[in-house]
């Protein structure tokens, strides 16, 4: 079809008085929006290609560029919104599933913003973290119910634990969905900050093996890059069952992205599509999961904690109880706002439940069953700042994963076009010319800065509550009050309303 009904989503405004024709924008835009017209000596833009990633805006030396939402409007209609109409045009023109990147952007309630934290006044002193110790160190892994001590010595050693300086880790993002430089930046930052990053299901590049102490290696349904050396290279192993952005859906890395380095790391031929099936084809039940957990433990001599990551779905509490009993040491729950490099739009926007509810329900259920100690809970999917983390821990998490926040820290502008492979910021791309735009050292520094800032903020919030060790916040739901929630929502979250 030659004629498209899709009008540009954005318009590029150029202040011609400021433009010096340096053509930085022309060279920077992988979507080929900007073109230099030599005859007229001016730069023109094809608005229809613009994804509003701000690359040209940020690099324009004279600040001549602005991107705006196209003010063009359809006739007002509360049902047939602009996006509803445009999505139909797209599908009518292509016949395809709508793809998108990053997390759910629909206006569902963000429950973090409906919870408020406590602070001490008079009856209990707040603690100043600049003067008093304030401990965020966190250990993830199975804990026995009782510690056996004899003659001042531990009788049985603890099961393997992940030691984190702060209760934050970088979420699973595979080499393939993100660039090598991004992987390297995450690894370097995790290593310096004393936390973990996660390989996703893309295997572990040989140059990143030196960061093994701070690496969680993932085993997903495609088993890409998995061999015994890979399993032993990390500090922990994560079995990925599902992902918040696309519960019940597998993955697909198109063959054109599978170049030499990815081919080697994923252990697949160059140019072949890397398809991760929706389920693991050796896990059709909870007892199958148990077998995989123990196979991985056997392969690594019971030296590494095994995590199981699932998407937050309706029956998440019962599923997590099963996972804990199946022998997992850590359960990562990914809420419906979790990010992704590529997901079908309808799945991302309509499947799964908010992480706040999932987390509260799982923590409550595991406590009711008396097995909360057996497993650590990691909360993922849309964590935006240090307050979200504090609230997650008060609801019952041991730690959180951050993915989108980490990418934003290194330059992501949330244009949600990761799946095109044309990330102008060098993050979600394999194009060597784009990848080299991301300097791993600088990106790592930005990530460390972010964690550093959040550490300070978390300490301030803890101190305000009169708490000086993060474990005293875990599941301490009295530190939370709900605002603007129904009593049913309050019940599920297990918190009181503000003023109660």
């Amino acid at each position: 079809m030659s004629f498209s009904l899709l009008t540009p989503e954005f318009i590029v405004e150029r202040n011609d008085e400021r433009c010096i024709r340096c053509q930085v924008c022309v060279r920077q835009c992988a979507n080929l929006v900007h073109m230099y017209d030599q005859e007229e000596d001016r730069i023109v833009a094809d608005d229809s290609k613009c994804v509003n990633c701000h690359r040209c805006v940020a690099l324009c030396p004279t600040r001549a560029l602005t991107i705006r939402r196209n003010p063009l409007e359809f006739k007002e209609n509360a049902n047939w919104t602009t996006s509803a109409i445009r999505e139909i045009y797209k599908q009518a023109e292509t016949g395809g599933i709508l793809l998108t990147g990053m997390g759910n952007d629909r206006p569902y309630p963000v429950y973090w913003d409906h919870m408020l934290l406590n602070a001490s006044q008079v009856t209990n002193p707040s603690i100043d973290p600049l003067r008093e110790p304030m401990e965020l160190k966190t250990m993830l892994g199975r804990k026995p119910e009782v510690l056996n001590v004899e003659d001042g010595k531990v009788k049985e050693k603890l099961p393997p634990q992940l030691k984190l300086e702060i209760p934050v880790m970088f979420s699973a993002m595979s080499f393939g969905s993100i660039s090598f430089n991004t992987c390297q930046a995450l690894a370097m930052a995790a290593s310096e900050a004393g936390v973990m990053y996660n390989t996703g299901e893309g295997g572990l590049h040989k140059d990143l093996r030196k960061y093994g102490k701070n690496t969680i290696v993932q085993v997903a349904s495609g088993r890409f890059g998995v061999d015994v050396d890979y399993l032993q290279a990390g500090a922990a192993i994560e079995i990925k069952i599902g992902q918040g952005a696309k519960p019940g859906i597998g993955g697909h890395l198109p063959g054109e992205k599978v170049m030499a380095e990815i081919s080697q790391t994923r252990m697949i031929p160059i140019g072949s599509d890397a398809i991760s099936p929706a389920p693991h084809h050796d896990i059709y039940s909870i007892e199958d999961l148990r077998q995989l957990i123990y196979s991985l433990k056997e392969a690594t001599d019971y030296q590494k904690p095994v995590s199981v990551k699932i998407a937050a779905v309706h029956n998440v509490a019962a599923i997590c109880s099963g996972i804990a009993r199946a022998g997992a040491d850590i359960i990562a729950i990914d809420g419906f706002r979790g990010g992704t490099g590529a997901a079908p739009l309808r799945i991302r926007d309509n499947v799964g439940i908010p992480i706040e509810f999932a987390l509260a329900a799982v923590d409550t259920r595991l406590r009711e069953e008396g097995i909360r100690n057996q497993v650590s809970l990691v909360c993922a999917g849309g964590i935006r700042n240090s307050a979200d983390i504090i609230k997650a821990i008060a609801l019952g998490a041991d730690a959180v994963y951050i993915g989108q926040a980490a990418l934003i820290a290194i330059g992501c502008h949330m244009c949600q076009k990761c799946y095109t492979g044309k990330c102008n910021w060098g993050i979600a791309t394999q194009d060597p010319n784009l990848v080299k735009r991301l300097n791993p050292e600088i990106a790592a520094r930005r990530l460390i800065n972010l964690l550093h800032a959040w550490t300070h903020e978390m300490k301030e919030m803890l101190g305000g509550m009169g708490i000086n060790a993060i474990e005293s916040l875990k599941g301490n739901r009295l530190m939370l009050r709900g605002i603007g929630l129904t009593s049913r929502e309050l019940d599920i979250l297990g918190i009181k309303a503000a003023g109660e």
């Binding site: 250990m139 804990k143 510690l147 603890l158 509550m465 708490i467 060790a469 474990e471 005293s472 916040l473």
Partner: protein, 365 residues
Amino acid sequence: MLRYEGKIRIPSGCAISGIMNKKGQPFPGDDIIKSIALMHDRSNGLGGGFAAYGIYPEYKDLYAIHMFYDHEGAKADVEMFLNQHFKIELSERIPTRKVSSIKNPPIIWRYFAFPRGDKLAEAGLDESEYVVRCVMRINSDFEGAFVVSSGKNMGAFKAVGYPEDVGDFYMLDTYRAYIWTAHGRFPTNTPGWWGGAHPFTLLDWSVVHNGEISSYDANRRWLEMFGYKCTLQTDTEAITYMFDLLIRRHRLPLEIALTAMAAPLWDEIERMEPEQQELMISIRAVYGSALINGPFSIILGCKNGIIALNDRIKLRPLTAATKGDFVFIASEESAIRTVCPRPDAVWTPMGGEPVIALLEGVEDI
């Protein structure tokens, strides 16, 4: 309408004091009353209480169950339950004397009893666990009834009022104990309920506590996994159950249990010898939810001695002293010196550093 404790969480500040004779020689309650009375301004008349060990030598092998009843109906219901589960040797009103400032007392009763053999065998529990479950059951299921204490040869005496008046009301000058602990309460928001006063007890554990723990809900939700029901929503109740869980049920050595509640900082742990380090890391990993955070000073009493503990950054006062066979612990040094003007030694324990005073010849708590 104001709600009673248990329906709402009420923070409070307080005064605490404890006196013990290490040889187990009983002495009357006058000194403990004098000591806690000196700290009058640390309480506000909304709660005072005492725990006394060694007061019932003639019934020392029986559980002394002290009860509060709001009405005769509750008493009848609980007595039916008690008769089903215990053999009661003696049931009597706890003697009191009229004191003008102590108003609206509940029905205050005590029973000397031991578990029925058939019921105990049927339950398949050891004796103390059986008693604990019965206490939990009464406190959670019987409206208008509250178990004040349930240990052997000990008892708790508490009321709404200033502690010195409470001591007078219960005629504690007529009892002789080898350990006395006392509490004056300064709740910040309460209609004043007799059950909410300290000490809080379970079996022969008793806790008097000054502070407001900020880890309360983390501690409570962890304890509830082990079947405890925190019906009062008070810190003291949670701390009492914590001692019961760690020491009686998990059989942790006393120092380990205390370490779990006031754990060393990670910085300190990093400087320890490897073996010690492993122990501390394990304690913090396994018993992270038992860490008591926020300001507190407590005196734990039991038949073998008393233990005092402060939060690990010392946000509440606590002083200890010795004189001959006597050990004194109190919120303020003046409360010790008023009954013992020239102690052999006086010291202020560091944050997280326990004071452990056991009877002579006793190895462990």
